[in-house]
Subunit: 218 residues, 2 copies
């Protein structure tokens, strides 16, 4: 129905998540008819981003710098390392303002059926780093050498697993916990239960079961 | 929260219709993490489309050709001209396969509050063309010259108004009808009423009122 170039554009827009043929058609016509300027900006921004954005060498988050702004922030507590599935999770945690440690972004979750194993999530490098840090620390302890233990260079002492409470997320957390314990590191999992402001009436059974089995004495 | 380039990309994606900050963030991360190839295709397709797509000289639809494939189709009946608001409307009508005439795309509707008048919709050119065609026809009739009256070159005899049944759409249709009648052309409006397969129970009052007032004897 459309001319070849517009058809091609509609087809390309379908690669966006949650965008089908009809929405893509609407987007294409909007961009060409109403907002060619915005479309030009989008071409520029997307082109530059594809070219320059890579992963942070430390935490694997998406960034155009070799090391992201969180990893290069000297004020953050390097003793805490929070493992999350996606960069969006980092944004959500940062927005809550509750956490001052560093992150490790898996960019996925263990899912053998999709061919995603520990290697794809960068886990071997993580465990190697944890093991090295532990060795350095224990050697220093043995030699009773005064090691500078400021926040910025402290080795990881606690791994906080904040993967999603889905089947794959739980499996990923379990796998990481097992491996990290072998490195002699404290491993914790963020709490799951009834969200604040939630009403019991509308909470699903799985969450309620978990909330009961994880109850704490007050 | 994100690095500047990613922030810029998210901001640019917000120009898409129906896409807010949260969806744009999801799209940006999806493109960069999961589908850089699709993102590259999108940059190419959008860049080429902005550069090359313009309006058809006859019907104002979006196309990369000077004259679109409908206007250059010799088999279509030029005696009928259907006025629609957007290229998407043309697609909808073409998909129904019911109409064999030509189109005129307003790319909008009269909306003085947004600064959209007849000029922005290309109406002066349309009326001028209709008037010229009428003059040529009447001169030919007066001189009793045999004018070739095949479909491809026949002057417009009926203007079918298919703008949307909204306040602005109706006002646009009324304005065009007034002007076209002065050119001596038959003007019609597509029927509005209960859609086929619709249930009266769920039809809004306005549509029902219209359906009753426009009833036909059978």
């Amino acid at each position: 129905m459309f001319s070849p170039l517009i058809d091609e554009l509609i087809h390309s827009l379908c690669c966006l998540p949650g965008v089908g043929r009809k929405s893509a058609q609407r987007m294409a016509l909007h961009l060409l008819e109403r907002d060619p300027e915005g479309a030009g900006r989008l071409v520029g921004a997307l082109g530059t981003a594809i070219e320059k954005v890579g992963r942070c060498l430390h935490c694997r988050i998406l960034t155009e710098q070799p090391v992201c702004y969180i990893c290069s922030n000297q004020r953050r507590n390097t003793g805490l390392l929070c493992v999350v599935e996606t960069p969006a999770d980092v944004v959500a945690i940062e927005q809550s303002g509750t956490y001052q440690g560093k992150y490790f972004v898996l960019n996925g979750r263990l899912s053998p059926i999709d061919g995603i194993g520990p290697k794809e999530l960068g886990l071997p490098q993580l465990f190697q780093r944890l093991r090295q840090e532990q060795q350095v620390t224990s050697q220093a302890d043995e030699a009773e050498v005064e090691v500078e233990k400021d926040n910025a260079n402290a080795p990881v002492t606690e791994l906080i697993l904040a993967t999603n409470p889905t089947v794959e997320g739980e499996a990923t957390a379990y796998y990481i916990a097992e491996q990290a314990r072998q490195c002699g590191i404290t491993v914790s999992r963020i709490a799951h239960g009834v969200p604040l402001g939630g009403e019991l009436e509308y909470i699903d059974g799985g969450t309620l079961t978990h909330a009961f089995s994880s109850r704490r004495s007050i």
